[in-house]
Each structure stands twice: as C-alpha cells, then as structure tokens.
C-alpha cells in the first residue's frame, strides 16, 4: 500500500527497497493495477457489496416511520452477522479470484515473466512480491469500501460502534488477504490462466461448501475405523474445521459479535450441529465449557456456557487468528516450491 502512484516517494520507498528484494515486484504490480480500470471496478464492487445491504435496512426503516430501539442499537451487529458474513465469505472470494487468478500465470503465458526473471529476482521474490502486490491491489479498494461503509453507519440511524466495526474490518481484511495469497499462489503453480482459474475455483468451492462435511467425514472415519470416540475425535474435527479460513473468519467474527467472556466458546460451539450427547462432549471436553440441557419448543437443546476449565488456548481467538495468517505463508511456500521447479 505504500507503493503509491508517485514514482520516487523518497525515504519509505527506498527503505522498503533496501529491506526487501521482492519490493520492486510488488510496487510494479500495484503501479500496473492503479493504471487499469480494475482497481476502480474493485472499489465499486466492494462498496456496493457492503453499503447496499445496510442501505436496504435503512430504507425499510424509513417507511416504518419509527426505528425500533433494539434494531437501532444493534443494527451494525445485525448487518455484520447476517448479510456481511455471507458476503465476505461467499462473494468477496469470487471478486478476489477474478482480481488475482492471472497474477503469475498471465505473465508466464504473455512472456513478461521473461523480463521479470531476467532481472535479479529469485523466483521466491516473484511469488512474494506478487502476493504482496496483489494484496495491496485488493486491500486498498477493500479498505476504501469499508471506510465508506463505516461512514454510512455513522450517518445512518443505526448506532455506529467503532470497536465492533474495527474488529470486523481487521478480520475481513485478514480473510481477504489470505484468500488473495491462495489465489496468487495457485496462479504461480499453474501454467495457464485457465488452469489457475479452475484451481482457484475448486479451492473456493471446497472451502466454502465442502469443508464442514470434509471435517465431519474425517471425524466419522476416525470413529468408525480407528475407534476414536469422544473428546479427541471432536477436537480433531474442530481443528480441521478451523483450518478453513472461511470457517475461521466466521467463528472469529461471531465471537467478536457475541462480546463478553463466553463469546469465543459459544462461537466455536456454534460450529457444530450434532446430537445431544456429542454436543455435550464438545462443550464440556473440547471447549472446556459447561453444557446445560434446556427445554425449548424444538425439544431438548444443549447450550454451552462458560465454566469448567475454560476454552483451551489453541482454540481461542488469538490462536485461530494466528493460524489464519499462517495460511498466507503456507500458500506462498507451496507456490514457490512448485514454481521453482518448473521450466518456464
């Protein structure tokens, strides 16, 4: 993001150049994008995605004449928990895919990679620079759009809670960057644009729609064939679930929205939909909570309250957030490993 349009912005530019071999690649990437319509299209798309649902809620309220107090107070949280979680996990990745799938593969097919790699850049520099550059290309419009959304909430009748919104921005930007790293890395590992697009599409599809069943099937296999029952099984299932950045993002955001001491426990617990006995195990033995059975109109429901030993550190919000960011490194490393091996 520091790679702004100005050519020689002096101190910072030079310092970054001195510090990072990949910096010129990232800067070139951003400069290139700034001059395309793409960046504006991205800003517009992101802004539309975030402002429209909130605007619609506002519009509905206009005709209602009087804003219900609860909605006014929790309008921001409602917007985040309902449309925004889905928008960020389902639509933003699609935008990212189209913005980044050609990052490396296009240079390979067009031949500009020959120019790039005849300069003293290692292939690692190219991948890292591309990930950093494209992250800026996606991140800047995203931040701009989120800024406008914040402004929108500030002037709307909904109470603007800057703390809640700041966390939402942090998680959303982190999620988007992880996804950008995925897509750019896939692009580095694939020989053509089409393959890169297909690869990114498959990864997106699995992360968004296939991951829960994958995690649960792993649990079933462990239980049925390895005799692994009880806490260990569900620990592994939760661990696998959290490996998906999509799941990690959702549970982090839910935990933030929940506020209060037990919010993280409740958010992790909310990732499961199992029978009563399993839910009890998950709450008590995996999440260190206090399971309580409640009578509801849908029958007995197990609710997980804080208590007991507390949420283990490795399932806590900071740990989930850290693992989430580790993905950027892992994706780039796999990409580099593939890219470094091939003939151009």
């Amino acid at each position: 993001m520091s790679a702004d349009t100005g050519g020689d912005s002096g101190g910072l530019d030079g310092a970054l150049r001195d510090a990072f071999d990949w910096y010129p690649v990232a800067k070139k990437e951003f400069r290139d994008a700034v001059r395309s319509k793409g960046l504006w299209v991205l800003s517009f798309l992101f802004t539309a995605l975030f402002v429209m649902p909130a605007a619609r809620n506002w519009w509905d309220l206009r005709s209602a004449q009087q804003v219900p107090r609860r909605l006014q107070e929790f309008g921001l949280q409602v917007a985040i928990s309902r449309p925004y979680l889905d928008i960020v996990t389902l639509l933003v990745p699609i935008v990212v895919i189209f913005a980044a799938y050609a990052a490396v593969s296009d240079e390979r097919t067009s031949g500009s990679l020959k120019v790039l790699l005849s300069l003293p850049f290692s292939r690692r520099d190219v991948i890292v620079g591309k990930v950093a550059g494209r992250s800026a290309v996606v991140g800047v419009p995203l931040l701009a759009a989120l800024g406008l959304t914040g402004l929108f909430f500030a002037v709307s009748p909904f109470t603007f809670k800057i703390g809640v919104f700041a966390w939402f921005v942090l998680y959303t930007v982190a999620f988007t960057l992880v996804f950008t790293a995925f897509v750019v890395s896939i692009s580095g590992a694939m020989s053509t644009n089409l393959r890169s697009l297909a690869g990114a599409g498959i990864v997106y599809f699995y992360l968004s729609f296939g991951w829960n069943s994958l995690a649960n099937s792993i649990g079933d296999v462990l239980a049925n064939y390895a005799g692994m029952e009880g806490a260990l099984r569900w620990q592994i299932v939760l661990f696998v679930k959290l490996l998906s950045p999509t799941q990690a993002y959702k549970t982090l955001t839910n935990s933030m929205l929940g506020e209060g001491a037990g919010a993280a426990t409740t958010a992790r617990y909310g990732m499961f939909q199992q029978g009563q006995e399993a839910m009890g195990t998950i709450c008590g033995d995996v999440l260190g909570g206090n399971p309580q059975v409640r009578q509801t109109m849908f029958g007995n429901q197990t609710v997980c309250q804080t208590g007991g030993s507390g949420l283990p550190f490795y399932f806590s919000d900071p740990a989930v957030f850290a693992s989430f960011l580790v993905w950027i490194g892992v994706a780039a490393a796999i990409s580099y490993y593939t890219f470094d091996r091939v003939d151009l």
Binding site: G7, P24, S118, L344
Partner: protein, 346 residues
Amino acid sequence: MPAIELDGVTKRFDDVTALRGVDMTVEDGDVFGFLGPNGAGKTTTIDVLLDFVRPTAGSAEVLGLDARADSEAIRERLGVLPEGYDLYDRLTGRHHIEFVGEAKRADPDPEAIADRVGLDRADLDRKVEGYSRGMAQRLALGMALVGEPDLLILDEPSSGLDPNGARLMRQIVREENERGATVFFSSHILGQVEAVCDRVAILQDGEVIAVDTVEGLREATDTGTRLVVSVAPGEAEAAADAARAVDAVESATVEGDDLVVAVDSDAKMTVLTAIEDAGIAVDDFETEEASLEDLFAAYTDEGPAPAATAGAAAATGRSSAGDDDGDGSAGADGDDPDGEDGGADR
C-alpha cells in the same frame, strides 16, 4: 575466465530434445554471435543461461558462476533482451526503466537511455500499450543496458526493428563492447551476426556444428549479397556496365531480363544509384542474401561430391555469382534453387 561456458548441455522436453550436448565457450570481452535457424535451440540455450530452464544433463557457467545455483548473482550483472517477451502494457517506458533500475539497484537516467536506443523522449511517458513493435524492442534494449552489465545477452535483438533501428542496435553493441561488456548475440540472420561479431557459433538441431571467427564465416559463405535488378528490356547490358563501375561490385551478369549483381551488402544503394545515374530506370529490385541453409551446407558438406544435394547446388550457385560473365549462364540452372533459399531470409 570465460563469460559463458557450456559443458555438454542437453535439454529434453517431454517429446522433443532441444539441445544435444552443447559445448561452447564465450571469452570475456567478445562479441559472440549465436547463429541458427528458428527452432535450432538458441532460445533454449539462453533459457539455460538464465535458469529459466534446467538442463537435463551438462552444466552451464555464466561469469564464472553456476547458472543454476547462483542465478540471482549472475543476473545482477546481466543485461538481457529476451525473445518472445512482453512488456507491461499499462506502465510507461519510464516506469519500465525505473523498475529495472530498482531491481538492479542502479540509478538509470531514462532520458539518456531513450536517446541511446532512439526512443522519442516524449514516448517515455506514454503507456507501452501504445508502442509499436519497434518502439517496444528499443525500450527492451534500453532496459537491458541499465546498470552497465558485464554481459549482454541479446536474443534476436533486431526483430521488429527497421533498418535504422537495426543499425543503431549494432552500434550500441559495439559501444557496450568497448565499455568492456561481453555481448552474446543470438540471431537467425546471417548478415546481423556478420556485421558485429568477432566469433560465431552455429547451432543446428540442438547441436553446435561450428565455431569460427567471423572472417572464417565470411570465407565459408562467400558473403555476397545478390542484388537482382529489373530494368527495361534491352537496357540490361548497359545497366550491367554501370554496375561494374562500382568498386564494391564483384560481378554483374544479365540473367534473362534481370541484372544480377554480386555486391557487398552495404553498397546496394550505391549500385542502384549508379544505374539510375546512367539514365536507366530501375523498375524493381530485390536482394538475396546468403542463407543459413547455404551456410550449413558450407560447414557440414565438407566431404566429397558437393554437387549432389540441393544444399550443395545452392553453394554452387553462390560461387558462380562470384565468377565472371562467361560462367554466369552456365550457373543459371543452379541459381533458381539458390534464389528461393536466399529469398526466404528476408
């Protein structure tokens, strides 16, 4: 220490063998020509030097460093004009030069570079998208010059350049060489290589079939350009006399309605002017240069009976052009295939 040292470099792709045990040494300070038809493996060889492609067998050293392990250190000291490259459409010429400067930690002067390669200063701040092929080639050449490289690798540098651009490119090659750079110059055009190089390697089907000085190459190919001039019927003999009066002309013969002049390539225009000065209108003209096929024939057909193959017939045609008038008609039969071969080059 040689600038480039290839030792038994073999490269097999899935279904083709691009290089078959290439051994080659380019001495420091040389302008080294790397000549071969398209598809001979020139670009693959350069790809090995740049670590774009990893050899199946053999080893490559550039500037005394291993091409595979020390690629980044090598490329710090390299200026490269790749073949089949593409520039960044949305960036300007100045951006490109600055980018190379950042990559090499050099501080280039874009205006000076533009002047050197004959790129209009005003075009420096235009997006490369709007550049013609020749402008892009000039910019790419300019990018290769950033940071005073120790070794310049130019792959088909004259492609896309007009004759003026090609001349400027050759001048830059000489200047860079005088500065102390080694130049590795790959081309499929004999004339380009002859004009600037000290030594030449000839590559065919992934093998180096000859390494020679450029004088040796000249002898082998008998250098001459054939200039075929069409004039009004009946004026051919007068035109031939006018042509013979030019110093650089080795021979001028009338073949059918055409005048065929064997002349040093640089003096073509002088000949045409001389003919027109004699009051004869030139309807049309074309030049036929010694083709690579002729060259391969010269280097590979060292055995007996050079008359048998088509390649050898071409070589015969060439030597007849150097002979006097009397043999001219006798050689005319052999000239037709020669003309086709030579014409394919330009």
